[in-house]
């Protein structure tokens, strides 16, 4: 049985969405309900306290180092039903100056304003400095959240990211949508 914690204030899923997107979200929720759960929700208990944990962040905002291969925006412009299913690795010390946002549904100025609103790498380093977490992982990750056909993302990119994280000793992952 799932639970609602801190339920005194329920988040309104639709507050910041325009009317069409609200309709789209309701439709996709209905699709998930019709599909039903083919399997139990996966669950890995926290293996050690946060103060001893190695934490990685994953953003679906299509972030890449400016020196890295760009995400394929042209492919999406040519075929709007397609989104680049690959991923990029970001070092733990990356800053807004190092990173470019390729997601065509998010304003690129968000990163220029402050990378931490999307991917809080500096905030995580500060929690590490303060001893609240064990450490920020050596590497963090981003992919393009607009992926109507997720097969390659699920079958290739995700296992590859997991492999990298295992090599880095990661035991906690925080996913941050764009």
């Amino acid at each position: 049985m799932s639970e609602n914690l801190q339920a005194s204030r329920q988040v309104d899923s639709y507050r910041f969405l325009d009317r069409l997107t609200q309709k789209l979200v309701r439709s996709w929720i209905e699709l998930e309900a019709q599909r039903g759960r083919s399997a139990e929700i996966p669950w890995t208990p926290l293996s050690r306290p946060l103060a001893d944990s190695t934490i990685a962040l994953i953003s679906s905002a299509g972030l890449a180092l400016k020196t890295d291969r760009p995400f394929d925006q042209e492919g999406e412009r040519q075929n709007p039903w397609w989104g680049d299913p690959s991923y990029r690795i970001l070092p733990r010390t990356a800053t807004a100056e190092d990173v470019k946002l390729y997601h065509l549904h998010i304003h690129p100025r968000v990163v220029e304003q402050d990378l931490n609103t999307l991917l809080p790498l500096q905030r995580l380093l500060e929690l590490e400095d303060g001893g609240e977490i064990g450490r920020s992982a050596a590497h963090h990750y981003s992919f393009m959240g607009y992926t109507l056909q997720p097969q390659v993302l699920l079958e290739q990119s995700t296992p590859a990211m997991i492999q990298h994280m295992k090599q880095d000793g990661v035991n906690v992952v925080v996913l941050v949508p764009g």
């Binding site: 049985m1 914690l5 910041f16 890995t44 709007p80 998010i106 931490n116 992952v173 941050v176």
Partner: protein, 122 residues
Amino acid sequence: MSTITLSSIPDLTSAVGVPRLAAIEYPLGYLLGQPGDRMGQTAVLRSTLQALAEIREPGSVSHLPFEWPASARRLSARPPKTPPISKYLLRHPWLIPNLFSREVPAPNQSELEPQQAGASAS
């Protein structure tokens, strides 16, 4: 690895069955907070990690107690150019139901008017 997803659309995120969910009523693009608001961003990140440590049941949601300030109501991550799918559906409105049902049309169907698509399928 233990995971938690921070989401401003928890109804949708929980519908797909994530193990742990931290819900926040902030706009997309700014889920950690406003640009330059170091303390606010730290508070959201810290609360998300605390939720990860506290949640014991798969599929549980922790509603974070943060409120987007009225002074930031104009902050928007809306892109400067209309996204390709939106532009495309303005020209091909008969395919809007495909987006709602996540049924990606075959490439040869995408450019056809409905009656043409029907003719080619028959």
